[in-house]
């Protein structure tokens, strides 16, 4: 591994961490798409900054770009407040307009400069190590490493300083306001951090990867935990993992680094989406299936409980009476048998004591809707667990 490779991975990892932190809060606050809007609408800010300074490395560019990110948020909120359109429409109207202004400004005025919409959108991490920070001829490493390092430091210190406030205002805005934390200040604080991070990260990794790095790790982590601290740590982990794995994938395929980092993020999300223990697709579908069977079981037991006539309890009668398919009624009867809730004599089904007991409890629960009634049967059944 050469030092350039090491530097690229280091930059990518730092960007991933810097994005994952505000991203977690954006996902929790249901504002994930703001990051998409910001990442596009920083373009006019960049272009105007460039026209003022004529220097692509100037810090004014970052400031202008971050400002136009915040302007986006303000505009979106202004349109929302007029209540003329819904929230997401407001986002969808603002950022393409700002992005178009940026594209037009570039194509009209900056044709001969290295300021290209492709670069803005896609970034080129591979070139990052060649842009060195030189002070008095001394080499201090790649510039973007320093930029993103400083941004990460600021983000981290703000996170530690205002963790409590952020947490409360994210989960209970009303309580936060009552306790005296201004939601407006926190909101715009978070938006500014997101904006600055986007700007700092985009020239290394491009606008789209910034969005991916903000949303995907947080969304993946959210499928695995409900704890804010764990979610932050997990999303940082997923971000860094995808950054490094993505780099090697790109190295192997000889393709865009930011594209392959995003692809790895997508694959990690897909895996977690399918296999997460509680919220994954497979476990959700399995649980739904179980609940279906248990509802059927309950219906079946209640039916038995209501009828003493042999005709009603004949095994073949179930098909027509509760209108079940053959397979389904067989699986329900099997389940009930396995749990010793019924006995079958000469095709006549009767409830056992255990089944009777269970049915009574279930009726009690259905009537009173009181959780304490079912504490004892919760163990056996998915149905009553959540």
């Amino acid at each position: 591994m050469t030092s350039a490779q090491l530097e690229i991975q280091l930059i990518a990892s730092l960007v991933a961490i810097a994005c994952a932190i505000p991203g977690t809060f954006l996902v929790l606050r249901k504002m994930a798409l703001i990051s998409d809007a910001i990442s596009h609408s920083i373009l006019p800010g960049l272009v105007i900054g460039f026209f003022i300074t004529h220097d692509l490395g100037s810090p004014l560019l970052i400031i202008m770009a971050a400002l136009s990110g915040v302007v986006t948020v303000i505009l979106v909120e202004f349109i929302q407040k007029t209540r003329l359109v819904k929230e997401d429409t407001a986002i969808g109207l603002v950022f393409p307009a700002l992005f178009s202004i940026g594209v037009i400004l570039i194509s009209k005025n900056a044709n001969d400069v290295h300021l290209d919409t492709d670069v803005v959108l896609l970034g080129e991490l591979a070139f990052a190590p060649f842009d060195r920070l030189l002070i008095d001829g001394m080499d201090f490493g790649p510039t973007s490493l320093w930029t993103i390092g400083v941004i990460l430091l600021i983000t981290l210190s703000l996170l530690f300083a205002f963790f409590k406030e952020l947490k409360i205002s994210t989960f209970d805005a009303g309580l936060a306001t009552a306790l005296g934390f201004s939601p407006v200040v926190l909101h715009y604080g978070l938006m500014s951090v997101a904006s600055v991070t986007t700007v700092g990260a985009f020239d290394a990794v491009g606008a789209i990867l910034v969005v991916a790095l903000m949303i995907a790790p947080a969304a993946t982590a959210y499928l695995l935990t409900d704890n804010l601290k764990k979610m932050l740590l997990l999303s940082v982990f997923f971000g860094v993992f995808s950054a490094i794995a993505g780099y090697w994938l790109a190295h192997w395929l000889d393709a865009s680094i930011s594209g392959s980092m995003t692809t790895v993020l997508g694959m990690v999300f897909l895996l977690v989406y399918l296999f997460a223990p509680k919220r994954g697709l497979i476990s959700v579908l399995y649980r739904n299936k179980q609940q279906q069977i248990e509802v059927s079981l309950l219906t079946f037991l209640l039916h038995l409980n209501n009828h003493w006539e042999e005709k009603e309890r004949h095994i073949n009668h179930l098909n027509e009476h509760i209108n079940w398919q053959k397979v389904r009624s067989k699986s329900v009867v099997d389940l009930a048998l396995r749990n010793n809730m019924i006995t079958i004599e000469k095709d006549i089904i009767s409830l056992t004591d255990k089944g009777k007991n269970f049915t009574d409890k279930a009726i009690d629960y259905i009537i009173t809707n009181d959780d304490s009634k079912i504490e004892s049967i919760k163990e056996d059944f998915f149905l009553f667990r959540g």
Binding site: V27, K30, M31, A32, L33, S35, D36, H40, I79, T82, L84, V85, K86, D88, T89, I91, G92, L93, P96, A97, F99, S100, I101, V103, I104, S107, K108, N111, T117, D118, L121, L122, I208, L209, V211, A212, I215, A216, A218, A219, Y222, L223, A250, L253, D254, A255, S256, S258, G259, S260, T262, T263, L265, G266, F269, Y273, R279, L281, V284, L285
Partner: protein
Amino acid sequence: MSFTEYFELLFNDYTLRTISLGTAILGAICGMLGSFAVLRKQSLLGDAISHAALPGIAIAFLITGTKETNVLLIGALISGLIGAFWIRGITKRTHLKSDTALGLILSIFFGFGMLLLTYIQKQPNANQSGLDKFLFGQAATLLARDVWFMASVTLVCLMVLLLFWKEFKIMLFDIDYAKTLGFNVKTIDLLITSFIVLAIVLGLQTVGVVLMSAMLLAPAAAARQWTNSLGIMVVLAAIFGATSGVVGTAISASQNNLSTGPVIVLVAATFVVFSFVFSPSRGLLFRQLRFIKNRKDLQLHKTLAFMFDIAKSHENISHPHAVRILNNFHGYTRKSLSKLEDKEYIRVDGLMWAMTEKGFHFAANLYNQQVKEND
């Protein structure tokens, strides 16, 4: 090139006519289907799908090796549909909210598409350049063939829209009612989502991935401000969309170095701003004017109510009283007094005022909403 020259050219120049026609049709179909997207609160679905279409284009190229637009667009359609239904799956099956699902699919699919595009570029095959026109769109590459294709898709779309108008409408505004009436909600939903994806895919070549969402949203959002009727909204949105297409093409053709996509989007955005401000029933301007008028009326009513309280304690309601007993607190100004006089609610005689019969009657029923104001 000036505008008049442009319109002359429009009738003579084949290329320009094709492009203008193409952007007009695109604007119209996007406006129509965008209305549904906006009303279903799926505004940003367009953004997500247009990004999600990118890997489809790359994969279609990798498999077939052609740059035939229609083949690539079929790839885009498939991956757009996968994206759209994955978004639905995420919001339905997990606790992730729709914004997260949209952002996730958008960025991941786009990133994957970029990976494939850069991979294709490194391949030893000279035929690959030009795929990135789908990123920002190049209206100039529209051929008559493409326009015909777009027109026929629009026609099909229009027919389906008319055929299922009732179903679409009821789905939009009361989905539970639609279910109880026995409509197959899932199929209708599938149909409309597929058409939205189709419109987006058609637009990719012209305005590109990034700006496609605005094409879908802006005409619909502008049209929404002028009407509360779905039919009128769809027609208006189609007109706004087509106009933005034509005007945008005209502006970009009359200047050097102006790409068509961003200009069309900006024209559409102008429509939106204009509608937001000047729409008579919802617009900001008239809303503010109404607000000011209401506030003034309130001042007048306050004065009148005070006068009514005094007048009703006298036998003769038109008994004159001194102007001096009115003050600011009652909303009294010289202007409000003369306004009340204009409306013949009071008579002013020197420094005295007296209520009229009409004013007394009006003031007595001031808070009675059953009585219609007759001015």
